[in-house]
């Protein structure tokens, strides 16, 4: 067994649906979950902005459809579109600092775990002995922030079982070493086929 919070998050005090009870913020990190690199907040914001650049035109396009095709009152439609654009922008920019407090991972003697989600919370556990292969991925935005993500794959499914985003390449390397510690076998000369 390993150290675990005596009471799971949220079990002792029921909170409202919005879960914006500030008493819960960052509790995860006090319970022994390693937070990702703080730069990840900026990275998520930039990713959100990039996503918003695609979302906003779709909203505006929907507005045109409502006004021209459905002949809804333009003032209402454009007010709604503007409000939605502002709301999505606010979410994309504001949410990362909150979700940072609910994101973490822990490497234990026998397993690796990750936690995420502000409203819909989830934790993924993979025993070390089940790891089939690991991926370290750094996209263009992540590279700009000097970060990368680390994924663990297990048998029988195509997707990653655990993904830890926004950690430094050194940390990813440390995790990789810890999970796949086997020494490189000596090179054996291949015999020619047939």
């Amino acid at each position: 067994m390993w150290p675990r919070p005596s009471a799971p998050v949220g079990s002792s005090r029921p909170c409202n649906l919005a879960t914006c009870d500030p008493a819960e913020w960052g509790v995860l990190h006090e319970q022994g979950w390693t937070p990702p690199d703080p730069r990840v907040v900026g990275m998520w914001r930039l990713e959100g902005l990039v996503a918003w650049v695609f979302v906003a035109p779709v909203l505006v396009g929907l507005g045109f459809v409502c006004v021209l095709a459905l002949e809804w009152p333009p003032s209402w439609v454009w007010f709604g579109v503007a409000a939605l654009c502002a709301l999505t922008l606010g979410l994309f920019v504001g949410l990362p600092s909150l979700s940072y407090r609910f994101t973490g991972y822990r490497l234990e003697s026998d397993h690796l775990a990750s936690a995420e989600g502000v409203f819909w919370r989830s934790r993924h556990y993979v025993p070390r002995s089940r790891v089939q292969h690991v991926d370290v991925v750094a996209g263009p935005i992540a590279r700009r922030f000097g970060l990368c993500s680390f994924s663990v794959f297990v048998g029988g499914r195509t997707g990653a079982a655990v993904t830890i985003g926004g950690i430094t390449p050194e940390e990813a390397e440390r995790l990789r070493e810890a999970l796949l510690p086997r020494p490189i076998p000596p090179v054996v000369a291949l015999e020619p086929a047939e």
Binding site: R4, P14, R123, Q132, V154, R157
Partner: protein, 473 residues
């Protein structure tokens, strides 16, 4: 290196014809229409030549051998491919004989490993006798040793036509079929046909009821016939840690799985089967991803008496004495959570009937709420979980009751999820994954008590870590 049977060429051509059936039909129609400058014959001859030559080339280039604990398959003319599969990594060997195979005296041998989805090597086709030899070799015998058609091993189960009839009659597929037809009808005739049908049904209720009954009956009979044909002559044998299923009246299947490779076990009972005291058993191996899409799925047996089921389960999970565990109930808030989650459906029900007028919409919504208020607690009471040490068990389903047994030694990962509503009601969901299921999910344990979920999560994670096999699968 060995070759396939020469008649493979014929088989391949038949398969090609099957694949090109649409094109061929198109040409047939074009010929019947009769254009003046008609060169259908030329096109068809070209097509036939192409299919024949490519089939022959495939036969010529395909070689395989089993040697030194490895299956080596070599194929391709332009791009040579050589695939090596270590025999101890084979999860599943399957022999298939369609009616066409049986006429030609052939058999398909398919080999599956835990890698990815689908068949890793397909030896299509061999002579029936050679198929037996190859199967034995894949399972560890020397290739040059003759293998008699295996009737050896302990016969565990043999289903008589009467039992198969019972299996087909009690798996209530008729209802889904009826709903399927009705929804299809609804989609096709969305522009008023549905309304007209409703009006007609209201005007002549006896005829409408008769039609519905006839459809139900047809679906029921279809289910019985299909079960009889698919699983005719069903046999389950155990030999040296391997389970062999053989079944099929027209298209014969034989599949061999290693007991130690089984990832999870399911005992399923429809409400009718519960009353009759029977059920069906399923086992998943890490290779059965593609097989699941097929009709037979990962069925170990389509019918077994409830009393005998633990005996079969014990072959795979030795510690199981009976399937009546000391079930732990879900969390206290579970009925409320499931009721409130279902309220989303009210919106849909209301919207669907909205077109018929507000009265209908409100009525449908109210009826839905009432039904859910009654069903939610019943559904929760039907669910439960049990921690048996080596195995974790999960039961669910009001009508179709499914008991899932997952050995801790096969658990690949565990996921803990909590929605805002679950958090408010002190609930959490555990998702247990093994290598043996399409989406990687063996059991989704919905709405456990949050503290119990935490304890179970701890136990499963540490046991899974401690009991992993050498290759992790």
């Amino acid at each position: 290196m060995r070759r396939l049977h020469p008649l493979t060429i014929l088989l391949e051509m038949a398969k090609a014809v099957q694949r090109l059936i649409v094109v061929l039909l198109f040409f047939a129609v074009a010929t019947l229409m009769g254009g003046e400058r008609d060169n259908t014959e030329v096109v068809l001859a070209g097509l036939g030549l192409f299919v024949g030559v490519s089939s022959a080339l495939r036969y010529i280039s395909f070689r395989f051998t089993i040697d030194a604990g490895e299956l080596v398959v070599q194929e391709g003319i332009i791009t040579r491919k050589r695939r090596t599969i270590p025999l101890d990594r084979i999860q599943n060997v399957r022999l298939t004989r369609t009616l066409f195979h049986r006429i030609l005296g052939l058999v398909d041998v398919q080999i599956e490993t835990a890698a990815g989805s689908g068949v890793e090597a397909s030896l299509s086709a061999l002579a029936a006798a050679e198929g037996e030899v190859v199967k034995a070799a894949l399972l560890g015998q020397a290739l040059d040793q003759p293998a008699e058609r295996q009737e050896s091993g302990r016969l565990l189960l043999k289903l008589t036509p009467r039992e198969l009839f019972l299996a087909g009659a009690s798996e209530n597929r008729a209802l889904p079929l009826l709903f399927g037809l009705m929804s299809l009808f609804g989609v096709v005739g969305a522009s008023g046909a549905m309304r007209r049908a409703t009006e007609a049904a209201v005007a002549t209720p006896w005829i409408a009821a008769g039609v519905a009954l006839a459809l139900l009956l047809a679906g029921w009979v279809w289910g019985i016939v299909r079960t009889l044909v698919t699983f005719g002559d069903f046999q389950l044998r155990l030999e040296g840690g391997r389970l062999t299923r053989r079944y099929g009246l027209l298209s014969q299947q034989e599949s061999v799985i290693r007991v130690q490779r089984v990832q999870d076990v399911r005992f399923e009972q429809t409400w009718l089967q519960r009353r009759l005291g029977v059920g069906s058993l399923k086992v998943e191996t890490a290779a059965s991803v593609q097989e699941k899409a097929e009709l037979t799925g990962s069925l170990l047996t389509p019918l077994v008496e409830s009393g005998r089921a633990p005996d079969l389960v014990r072959l795979v999970l030795p510690s199981i004495e009976s399937l009546d565990f000391d079930w732990r109930p879900l969390g206290k808030g579970a009925p409320m959570r499931q009721f409130r989650a279902s309220l989303l459906g009210v919106l849909l029900a209301g919207l669907v009937v909205w077109r018929f007028g507000w009265g209908w919409g409100l009525g449908a919504a109210a009826a839905f709420v009432l039904v859910q208020a009654v069903l939610s607690p019943l559904r929760v009471r039907a669910s439960g979980w049990a921690d048996l040490g080596h195995v974790v068990a999960w039961r669910q389903g009001l009508m179709r009751r499914v008991v899932t047994l997952v050995p801790c030694a096969k658990i690949q990962s565990v996921k803990w999820v909590q929605s805002p509503l679950q958090r408010k009601l002190n609930l959490a969901t555990l998702v247990v994954s093994t290598a043996g299921s399409t989406a990687g999910v063996s059991a989704t344990m919905l709405d456990l008590d949050v503290v119990e979920a935490e304890v179970l999560l701890d136990a499963l994670t540490s046991r899974s870590a401690a009991w992993a096999g050498p290759d992790g699968v």
